[in-house]
Symmetry: C2
Subunit: 535 residues, 2 copies
Amino acid sequence: MEESWEFLRQLTREILDGGEVLTPGEKVIDFLHPEQLEERLDLNVSKEGSSREELLEACRTVIRYSLKTCHPMFLSRLYKGVDGYGLGGAWLTEALNTTQTTYEVGPAFTLVEKSVIQQLRTEAVGWDKGDGLFCPGGSLANMFAMALARHRACPEVKSRGMRAFQPLVCYASDQGHYSTKKGASFMGFGTDNVHIIPTDDRGRMIPEELDLAMRQDIEQVSYLSYFSLVYVTTVYLQLSTTCSEKYNSIQIFYNSYVVYIKTVAQGKQPLMVCATSGTTVLGAYDPLEPVGRVCRAHGVWLHVDAAWGGSVLLSRRHRGLMAGLAEYADSVAWNLHKMASSPLQCSLLLCRHETILVVQGLLFKCNANNAEYLFQEDKYYDTQYDTGDESIQCGRKVDAFKLWLGLKAHGMGGMEVLVDKAFETSRYLLKLVQTTEGFRPVLPEFECTNICFWYIPPSLRGLPEDDHFWNKMSKVAPEIKRRLVMEGRMLIDYHPITSKSMVNCFRVPLHCIPVPSAKDMDFLVAEIARVASDL
Amino acid sequence: MEESWEFLRQLTREILDGGEVLTPGEKVIDFLHPEQLEERLDLNVSKEGSSREELLEACRTVIRYSLKTCHPMFLSRLYKGVDGYGLGGAWLTEALNTTQTTYEVGPAFTLVEKSVIQQLRTEAVGWDKGDGLFCPGGSLANMFAMALARHRACPEVKSRGMRAFQPLVCYASDQGHYSTKKGASFMGFGTDNVHIIPTDDRGRMIPEELDLAMRQDIEQVSYLSYFSLVYVTTVYLQLSTTCSEKYNSIQIFYNSYVVYIKTVAQGKQPLMVCATSGTTVLGAYDPLEPVGRVCRAHGVWLHVDAAWGGSVLLSRRHRGLMAGLAEYADSVAWNLHKMASSPLQCSLLLCRHETILVVQGLLFKCNANNAEYLFQEDKYYDTQYDTGDESIQCGRKVDAFKLWLGLKAHGMGGMEVLVDKAFETSRYLLKLVQTTEGFRPVLPEFECTNICFWYIPPSLRGLPEDDHFWNKMSKVAPEIKRRLVMEGRMLIDYHPITSKSMVNCFRVPLHCIPVPSAKDMDFLVAEIARVASDL
């Protein structure tokens, strides 16, 4: 073992002091195509193993050609780099190598998880009571919410399956994340039972359209049952007029058939709305108050996918974007590894119903299987602290500690300053793209810290903006991106915009850490103009 | 940021050189009850944040009262501690803070994942072609396999949901992991559609019972449809004799009803068998060859849950326990964070159908949603390397690199030596419990590296082994465990044994790292006898 610790010490020195990983130099990425990188990195695991120097060399190659997520010009994803607090928490978690299943294998981690969930639930969301769980990513957090909604509506689905119930429908906006559909596939709803709701010109779900969609679904009876009913009614009428002596018998027959049809082929049941706080591309916040009122009117679960935008809850100035959350939502998914910059992964699902210490809380009722080998009741401590059975996972990775350590370091006040700073710099960027020649924002107004814009290269400026123009425009962003990546100066992303016939625009999301600066934004705009000067 | 890196440097020094975490002293745990620990750890996140010294002090408290998973006397779980190679890989992964979604955000990690999956698939399992994915834990790996099986059988389930199909049934042994049932709840099968198969006296699934169960399920038509058919037939016969002039009309009516009943209320369809290689408690290996033949006869997907026992595939001496895997299985889940001692989590799902580079492989077909914002096709590199859409997750944590680095360090040959050593020490432990006074093994023969045994304390020895005796025996293991934990000498687990009316026995699973020794086993047996001398 001693040799392995020595390797660890040396690698750690290189990570901490070498600079490339945590405080990168000029390049955000030294890009190689797959076949080029394969030539430089010995991927094969040999029979006899590798020496310390060979391993360190492999790590150096990995570091050299990896994306430097701590670089200010890594601007392509909804996550970013780390600071020393978050990374310290992650490293200690890895070193202690345990799971979040029962209190005895992670006493401190269990308390930390419980505490940080409670504090965020009460102080950030505003729910006095409730439940919470860290999930392996926001997609699964959204699916766990679907499971909770389903369990509340049809608890027997756990034993009888989806087949025993009428079709359960989930609603999301056309700007919502694809995990609702992935969940619908995986969890047996079927994507046909995800009803997509139109959005307004800023990408926000239209509550009236949601209400309409629910009404339609409730009234809809399947084609098969309509057809059968019409057919049976015809035959019935025919029979009842000609065989009057057997009228009663036929009527019973008919009635039982109708009951059967109604049971088996009934209409759809609206189950859950997945509203979004901070959509992936445009950063739109669905209006939770009117959406919540529609949900309440129909008795439908309101889940809020705040994976990206949830961190506004840490800021008094910006939490208004999620007004209605505390009052109307049943659950919320919040990726603290996104805007709040905790290391990956840190996906929190909060639910307003019942507390985590109530062993029979909703998460538990929904997911528990009471495995005797793990959750024995004859233990020597209070087994209410064994939260493992609340998840569909068995061993759950410890995600709470790094978050807690980061929050503790910055303080809730410090986090607020960081969120406000990200918003402030985003507003600065929006102003830049509004005022710099060739740049054009996608949305007229500021929405969230993702700013979407086009760059109109010199050759296209002043041309009539017809199909030909936008067709050419769609190729601009990919080419600019390619050039910037090849130079290693910037990693920026582009996205097709639905309302503009899928024309690619740039999207720049800003995060808390490392703190984005106005200078970075000036650089970003200047670089795009520089590499695109001949386009 | 500089202050946060300084904190990280200091914390890292304490982890690396302090000794408690990686090379623990005498105590495996300094146990405190929740309310005691809450007093010593300041859980609250303040408004103004904490100083470096306060943060370090919090980390020291967490370290002090955490379980030391690297301690040789941590013997309670199917995972254990880390070595410097695995931890180094984990730390570098955390420092680079990226996901496994697209090539451009993790070029080296993408190639490493692809390569290590391919090497384990071909060299360890023996499949020339296939697909693979790291999953957040073995439970979800098993569920992903259920999704693959379901997708192969009913691809339309993705859009139409479980409601559109006859009940799909999964099979697992009574010793199998509870994740099959959790998956059945979560994925809409319903736990009623998990058919539990009896096991033999060593805890292995009985293939003849499996065959019988499938036959019964296929023949079973739901109660509702039987009832309806009988009822309708009776009425039909009555009508057809009395209303002869309308005979044709009634017959059409009846026939359409029968068709409807048959469509809606048909029998069950066997979908997947989840066989187990290394059951959680007894370490039993289901006989994959006869089980595989039954699956093949019925056209059913064979998934092997080798979360615990899969690492025998690394050893020529022990891989025979999984004979039949390469020939009969469709998929296998293998937690390399268990016996093979990669850091948590490292759950690999391998599938024999199609390769990962075939973008339209089964994982992709099953889970893809083609989100335009992430998986653009107008990229500047070969997007076949973007594997994100193969999972139901969006951002997937990088789990491959730490595994790869550990395998590279030890070499495939070195891993074989480590697996063989774990088996050798387990055999030594079995011999000890067979020959030491008061100890009694649960299984007559050696099965895997988990050894289950009872300790009969002095006061119960020689008594008739009736209900009263076993009732008392069931309280022995919890009490011994409690005493050992309170002293901090050992963390050992006990489990109710189904065949013995749920009497608790000890279960000691051995892993590759840190290498278990005969001396540790002597200590373990002596300690149990010591603390139980007055029982």
